[in-house]
């Protein structure tokens, strides 16, 4: 990996984040490349979601920096940051659907917020929303409100909203948390499908569901106590340290 590797989309350098005196993230160095699906795993509460939130600068680092396509996030001005964020799709842990809007408006929202120059017209937006709803199997839910939906349906709407603009970088924070096995598999199938739509897409998935992630992820990053303890492809796990092998379990050795 050369320092100017063109396929690297996101570079995390020495990232540190402190909450109440403790370093939740303590010196993270990572690179995410185009075309990859990366699984971000590790024991609960050790910083995975926090790391994910730094990538579109939903959180500001206390140490180190994040570089997206050559732009250093911390130095960007508001409108530059807006342009960078337009390349992202983010699926939140608790769906984060706007409960004061219908499902259709929720999914259309990112498109309607685009700068006037690149925004599609109203008819195109509606067409794309309906299409994406059909893709996630919720064509009938267009006019419903989030509170009328089940957990799995809300997750799918969140997924639709995050991917509606066909983003180049998609981040999933615990996409199958609290869902039954059948719905979980559906979600991961969707993650795979969305990734394949854009050839140079980068996808990062935070999850505990290692078995389902296995079918989708090429590369794995394991975070423990705020530090990276493993960073490599599936095949490299068998050669990793005891702690790492024990975490991934027998299925991976």
């Amino acid at each position: 990996m050369s320092a100017a590797d063109p396929a690297v989309r996101i570079r995390v350098e020495g990232l540190g984040k402190r909450y109440r005196g403790e370093w939740v993230l303590d010196g993270i160095d990572l690179a995410f490349r185009a075309g990859e699906v990366v699984g971000l795993v590790g024991p609960g509460g050790h910083g995975k979601s926090v790391l994910l939130k730094h990538l579109p600068r939903l959180l500001d680092a206390d140490r180190g920096r994040v570089v997206i396509d050559g732009h250093v996030l911390g130095t960007l001005r508001a409108f530059e940051l807006a342009r960078v964020r337009e390349r992202f799709g983010y699926v939140f842990q608790n769906y984060a659907l706007f409960d004061f809007m219908t499902v259709g408006d929720n999914i259309a929202f990112p498109l309607r917020q685009l700068a006037a120059k690149v925004r599609p017209d109203a008819a195109q937006i509606l067409a794309r929303v309906h299409q994406r709803l059909a893709d996630v199997g919720l064509a009938h839910a267009f006019a419903q409100f989030p509170r009328e939906l089940s957990g799995g349906m809300k997750k799918r709407v969140g997924l639709a909203r995050a991917t509606i603009a066909d983003p180049e970088i998609t981040l999933y924070d615990d996409p199958s948390a609290g869902l039954d096995p059948v719905t979980s598999s559906k979600i991961f199938a969707l993650i795979d499908a969305m990734h394949r739509r854009v050839p140079t897409a980068t996808t990062v998935v935070v999850s505990h569901d290692l078995d389902r992630m296995r079918a989708v992820c090429h590369r794995w990053v394991m975070i423990e106590r705020g530090k990276v303890v493993f960073d490599g492809v599936t095949e490299a796990i068998a050669q990793a340290s005891e702690v790492v092998r024990r975490f991934f379990g027998e299925a991976f050795s």
Binding site: L58, Y90, F92, F109, Q113
Partner: protein, 264 residues
Amino acid sequence: MTSAASRVLAGVGRPVVGAWREARGLAGLFLDTFVAVARGRVRGREVVHQMYLVGNKSVPFVAITLAVLGLISVFQVATQIKQVIPDFTMLGAAFMQMMVREFAPTITGLMVATRVGSGIAAEIGSMVVTEQVDALRMSNADPVEYLLVPRTIAAAVMMLMLTIVGIICATIAGMLIARSGFDVSFKTFLNFQLLDAGDLALGGTKALAYGLAIPVIAGRAGLTARGGSAGVGRATTQAVVATSFAVIVLDFVISGVSYVVFGQ
């Protein structure tokens, strides 16, 4: 430095530093709100919707509260007057002047701080805790512009209207008790001779100031909520206290400035 001395200093210093940071954060939010309004990035329909919410929730509340207040005030003062010199000619005039200058805007302000302030904090707080605010930022919708600006404009306008409603209700209530308890005719009570432009300006300025301060302070409490339902509860509580206190401080400042500068 001895550890005891440094602990005392820290004990005094920490709240002061904390208060300073709060003040700075609040000032920043005020500025962001005004900049957004000045830029004209205001969603008209949302403003009207918010005005409806604020007004709808508060009108009965303000009306009853101020009617009761009018009732009590007139009753108390009239009882006093009856004992001293039973001349009720100026009762209505003095009452209405005090209402316009002080009680109507401030009590309405406190009621709105209570109802609307905690409402805004609860709403925005639960949006923060369920990551909806993060989702807004991901789509490049600035939470201040999207959430606070409509509520601020709505609150400022509604505060003026609610204060007027309050004055009317208090006056009617006062009028009724003056008639039934002390035989003061409606005509004698509705004496406008003491009211001048200065009184109206004072009351109006107060109402407007409260209307601008309450949503921003409550919004800030909501936006800094952390940690599930406990966080939302904490934010709501903080909002109620901070907005109520702000109303009282603003009352003092505006009254003070008005007296010192305008002799009003």
